[in-house]
């Protein structure tokens, strides 16, 4: 009799497990909105790969991508809750945070800044000290923040007087640079530099990172609120995202194919060139993808503070969190 009861209860258990299975599978996915920094392009390839390979779905997340644009306040969208996560530059995180916005970086996708200053290779301009007395299109206030920021930080670091440089507004078409009126222009190695080189010009590249200015670029950001309310969702979203980026970096040609499904410019040549340029920025050959170093955050904060871009000072460690990266990578940077 006891054996029969046991068998019966075992059967009931099996039925219960089977009955639970489809319910779990049908569990409503968490809806997440990601605000991109700019229009769909290879710059965000890792996110597309994570989506197309089902990494988000595997974490039971349904992601909606929102494009950025000229008039879109990306940080505000994240702060207001229109987007759960955003791809922002660290300077925006700092500036907004100093204004009271509870933004927090959880992983830095571009661990090297794509900002580079270019001059013609016959100009004799090979280092920042050569900028003195020259025309540099580094951007007017309120323009491309990172160009201006890194330019002044670099000059200050080297003890060079920025006032002796003739600063003109940044022109994304580089007309002044082509006709010789502008001797130095900043650009992104993943965008403008490719376009300038397509003209067949030979250039001298001056990287701010060579002069002690280490800035992260595209950084995955969320709010303090989401971190405290749904830390598990943050971990799952970041885990899927990093997997997507890892795949994108490990096989960038495939990532370009995936990107072309989303990209506004459906030109494989353009997207491939962008992808090739960003590979060394995402995969630096040192740490895991997305990994962040406190000293870099400290350095960036210091630059912004010196340039009086922050309305108030605050604890720099509040602007980023290594908690999720450590959880995903088991605490290992490499």
């Amino acid at each position: 009799m006891r054996t029969i009861t046991r068998i019966f209860s075992m059967l009931l258990l099996v039925i219960a497990v089977i009955a639970c299975e489809p319910q779990q599978a049908k569990r409503t996915p968490d809806e997440v909105t990601l605000q991109l920094k700019w229009l769909h392009q290879a710059q965000f390839a890792g996110f597309y790969v994570a989506q197309e390979k089902g990494y988000y779905a595997r974490e039971n997340i349904k992601v909606t991508f929102l494009e950025g644009g000229q008039d879109i306040d990306i940080a505000q969208r994240v702060v207001s809750g229109q987007a759960d996560f955003g791809v922002l530059t660290p300077e925006f995180i700092f500036i907004k945070r100093s204004q009271g916005a509870p933004l927090k970086a959880i992983a830095s996708i571009y661990r090297r800044s794509a900002v580079v200053f270019v001059a013609m290779n016959n100009s004799g301009i090979v280092r920042p000290s050569d900028f003195i007395g020259k025309t540099v299109a580094t951007g007017d206030p309120g323009g491309s923040q990172d160009f201006e920021l890194q330019f002044y930080a670099m000059m200050k670091r080297l003890g060079l007087a920025a006032s002796k440089v003739k600063v003109v507004p940044y022109d994304p078409a580089y007309a002044g640079f082509y006709n010789g009126k502008v001797e130095v222009t900043p650009c992104y190695s993943t965008g403008g530099l490719i376009r300038i080189r397509q003209k067949g010009l030979k250039l001298n590249l001056i990287w701010p990172s060579d002069y002690g200015i280490h800035f992260y670029s595209d950084t995955l950001t969320t709010t303090d609120r989401l971190i405290s309310e749904k830390p598990d969702l943050v971990t799952r979203f970041l885990r899927a995202t990093l997997r997507g980026w890892k795949d994108a970096i490990e096989d960038y040609r495939q990532a370009v194919t995936v990107t072309l499904k989303y990209a506004q410019i459906k030109d494989p040549g353009v997207q491939t060139a962008m992808m090739e340029a960003m590979l060394p920025l995402v995969h630096t050959g040192e740490d895991q993808i997305g990994w962040m170093k406190p000293e870099i955050w400290q350095g960036m904060y210091q630059v912004l503070l010196e340039q009086k871009l922050l309305t108030r000072s605050f604890d720099v460690n509040q602007a980023y969190s290594l908690r999720f990266l450590k959880e995903i990578y088991g605490g290992k940077a490499k």
């Binding site: 000290s129 001298n204 590249l205 002069y211 002690g212 970096i249 490990e250 096989d251 920025l281 050959g285």
Partner: protein, 391 residues
């Protein structure tokens, strides 16, 4: 079944079974030998190339260490560390170290740039490539590690140079042992490519490449372009090599083609070296061997079959003659003779048969004679009886 097919099958079996066994053993032995030879070859390539890489780096390492210990180099490094840029002493020291020490060393080959970094911020104070002067290297592993010991920063992509780079660095110390600078040397990677690309023979698929701890190709594989530090590889061989193992395996390579691969972890470079050959190529002699063995076995079997057939015929021909003779004799022709001359058992049987036929024939002749005599005697008796009646 008749004797002829029986004998033919018997001969075929007798030839096929041992030939198949011997053939299989020969094939197995041959296969093992060929596979072992291939594996030994791949492993030896890895060992050879690893030694070549070590020799290459060791030479440059010794060269830069020797340079860092030269009294004048130490003196100039001290001046560059203790004086400011505009100082005439600084300019003089910079000019001297570049022109008299660093540039002449480039002529020996091995390096394409030699440079001196200040100990505080890693500022490049002097370089054979003037464009590099004034840059800070404080976050670079070759500067951080190079402050205390000779260090090799493995192959990495330098966004500044926009190419792959490998840098050896070593500390420069004054007489009291204080750090006065870090001497760095960028290695000419042409030599590395030459070592890795070196082919051991005319094999069309032999492929050697290096893979770093991030699973990225470090050198270009034979069947890929633009893979170096741009594409990751996660084959069984690479994973085993990166986990610190030395060994061989049968697996699919980065193209998805089945290969025999030898992997070896190179701790000095924090990379693994992989040498692979397509299984199709490696197994080609084995397939050839199998065909040769199969051809020999078939030839032996056919020969055995034909021989069996011929042999069966030599046996069957006198038997058939004997049967025909027996039929003839059985049919009443006792004068018929099989007449086989052979000395074997069949010949003996035939002769016995002939003797039996001859004996039968004699008996019949005798019987006829007796019958004739009997008939004659009967007739004579009849004649005498009638005569007696007449009397």
């Amino acid at each position: 079944m008749k004797l002829a097919p029986k004998l033919t099958i018997l001969f075929l079996l007798l030839s096929i079974v041992p030939t198949a066994i011997v053939g299989y053993l020969a094939y197995e032995n041959g296969r093992r030998t060929i596979v072992q030879e291939t594996i030994d070859h791949l492993v030896s390539i890895n060992i050879f190339k690893n030694n070549e890489l070590k020799r290459w780096v060791k030479g440059d390492e010794s060269s830069i260490q020797e340079l860092a210990q030269q009294p004048l180099v130490r003196h100039y490094a001290t001046v560059l560390t203790k004086h400011d840029t505009p100082d005439p002493e600084y300019r003089k020291a910079k000019g001297s170290i570049v022109e008299d020490h660093l540039k002449p060393r480039l002529k020996y080959g091995g390096f394409f740039e030699l440079f001196l970094m200040c100990p505080r911020h890693g500022l490049i104070s002097a370089s054979t490539d003037e464009k590099q002067e004034g840059k800070y290297r404080d976050t670079y592993p070759y500067f951080i590690e190079g402050k205390s010991r000779t260090h090799i920063q493995g192959i990495y992509y330098s966004p500044v140079l926009e190419q792959l780079a490998m840098t050896i660095s070593t500390p420069i110390k004054d007489k009291q042992g204080n750090l006065m600078g870090v001497l760095g040397g960028r290695l000419d990677l042409g030599e590395l490519s030459k070592i890795i690309a070196l082919q051991s023979g005319k094999s069309p698929t032999e492929d050697t490449y290096l893979v770093n701890t991030f699973n990225f190709f470090v050198t270009e594989p034979r069947f890929g372009q633009g893979f170096a530090l741009k594409k990751a590889v996660r084959t069984e061989g690479v994973e085993a090599g990166l986990s610190g193992k030395d060994g061989v395996g049968f697996y699919k390579d980065y193209r998805g083609v089945p290969v025999i691969g030898a992997y070896k972890w190179l701790p000095e470079f924090k990379m693994c070296i992989i040498t692979e050959i397509d299984q199709a190529e490696a197994f080609a002699p084995i397939v050839h061997l199998a065909w040769v063995i199969a051809a020999i076995a078939s030839a032996i079997s056919i020969a055995a079959g034909l021989f069996g057939l011929f042999f069966a015929r030599t046996i069957i021909r006198p038997v058939r003659k004997l049967v025909a003779g027996a039929d003839e004799i059985g049919g009443g022709n006792l004068e018929h003779r099989v007449g086989t001359a052979s000395k074997d058992e069949i010949g003996g049987l035939s002769r016995t048969f002939d003797r039996m036929a001859a004996a039968l024939s004699d008996k019949e002749t005798q019987l006829r004679e007796y019958t004739t005599q009997l008939e004659t005697s009967n007739k004579e008796l009849e004649t005498q009886r009638f005569r007696n009646w007449d009397v």
